[in-house]
Amino acid sequence: MDKITLAHGGGGKRTRELISNLFLKYLGNPYLKILTDGVNLGDLKRTVVTTDGFVVDPLFFPGGNIGKLAICGICNDLAVMGAKPKFITMNFIIEEGFLTLDLEKIIKSIASEAKSAGIDIVAGDTKVVPKGHGGGIYISGTGVGEMVYKNDLPGKIKEGDLVFVNGSIGDHSAALLVARNDFKLSSKLKSDCQNIYPEIKNLLDKSKEVKFLRDITRGGLAAILNELAEYASCGIEIAENSIPFKKEVLSLCAMLGYDFLTLACEGRFLAVIDANDEKIALSMGLTKIGAITDNHKKVVLKTKIGGERVIDLPDGELLPRIC
């Protein structure tokens, strides 16, 4: 079983082999083991559901792979709703000829990421498409979580509320750009791909009022800030000096003409919290990057030299297949 063949997707003997030798071996749990067409999740309260697809290129990148990315991506979508991720279902669309060893690596990452996130993979499906009809492997999944936060998110935002992020911006996109090797560059950059639920749980537990949470993915910080301004019908003032970044990311952007504010992350979130909670957020290691204002309805960057400019929604095809 060194390569995936069309027979592995045929529903017969080879499919069963694939399921028991790989999927059940690493991901097995009472929900999955029964191999029924569906699964009863029991009683859930204040359920949150999300779904996401993953087509990243390359499949293996510094700091992760498509499997880890899928689990983190789904968990993060639930986390920013104020929910604890509990169950995930996964679909694997595999291209004929895909190395079984690579599939095993991906499933192992899924298993270890799921374990540390405390979630169960409760249902799954495998399809094999003919060679040339897929990018190696695509994964899509649905996540189910239970609300742990008292309020629904997003909440009501007002002037003076503060904007925080949990780490350097753009590492994921930048690491992928280098990993694709189109530019024959090398760097020590790693994707920031991680499950942000623990950090978010901590913030939700300790602060009096969290008003807005969003994971910073496609479109980067620039897109999320604009979504926030639109949602809250307010302006945002961001201090360029305060936005955390890695030097390598900025150099890469300068070289290739990207704005690092538009680069995607996979383990970063933006939080809007009440100004009274500032100390708590700072003590958790979050970085304050700006504040909500009623002076205008745009996202305005206070630049390093003391000037001002607008941060606009990114447009066009910035970087395809980053997640």
């Binding site: 530019f183 205008h296 745009k298 390093k304 030299i305 003391g306 000037g307 400019r309 607008v310 066009g316």
Partner: protein
Amino acid sequence: MTTKNLKKGSDPCKGRTLTMKIMEVCGSHTAVIVKSGLASLLPPNIELISGPGCPVCVTAQGDIDNILEIAQKDDVLVVAFGDMLKVPGTRISLKKIRAERGNVEIVYSPLDVINIAESNSEKTVLYFAVGFETTVGATAALIKEAKRKKIRNLKIYSTHKLIMPAMKALLDGESEIDGFILPGHVSTVTGYGYFEDIAKIYKKPAVVAGFWPENVLESVEEIQTLVKRGKAEVKSVYKVVLKSVNMEWQKLVKEFFVVENAAWRGFGKIPKSGLDINDKYKEFDAKLFFNIKDVKRTDKPGCSCGEVIKGMKKPAECSLFGKACVPDNPFGPCMVSEEGSCSVWYKYSYNSKIKGQKSK
């Protein structure tokens, strides 16, 4: 000068108000000036105007239409820089052709074109070469490598341009420019002595700047000082640039190109301002291969890009700006490129965006 000296409305002329129009002729400078917020800090008597510094913007509509026509031929694969894809032709764009026919590829380096030509040997690969003095070397390297590898299916459509003749054309016209911020990249390649005529013939100061806001500001200060003293000189505050004219670069241009009259958007034909492929390498010349006789003078009706490029109109003064012409759906090329002044102003300008909102 450090940024500490910068305060909104402060006047480095110290008491003496001298209105000054300074033109930057490099799209990267335009981007730095707006993105860093420098534009929002300058006193009102200093006006920075963007000139013909964005290669995508200055490319004549006729050249773009020629490329688009070739791109719709069977068995042609077009290779271009990303920005070129979005530039609207009279009827269609490369982006639309790519979506319909799938025969357009983006490259970051001209040398990547070699691989594309080799792996598509059954097709004619058309490389759309754009850019100023800075990027000429990379196209020369492509021609050299293609010759060495005896690549027969590569054709290069050169719209390479020289910035110096365009600056002269501006000064020969009715311009009110008091001085120039000279392009750091071009000067690095040519040596800034290349711009000596701006001072000698046209009696205007010109200062080379690098690409960080403090350095651009230094060049503005230097230009002001020169204007105040009535001195026309070519200088540099970008320390890496040498004055002496780079003979290697000139040799390279001579070997691979011939200087010809060229059509520019907004200007029409400017004498001795474009680089066509030298006869020695004519097997790569797309204009010969596809029998392109001329570039039609067809700037799009209603589009002000020509005037914007010449510094006669500010982006916001165009009636289409932000309405019928936005980065997502550009009407003219200045709204396309990250270096195009309309796109830069539309995306980043505080004033053009905040207008109409509650003021402080």
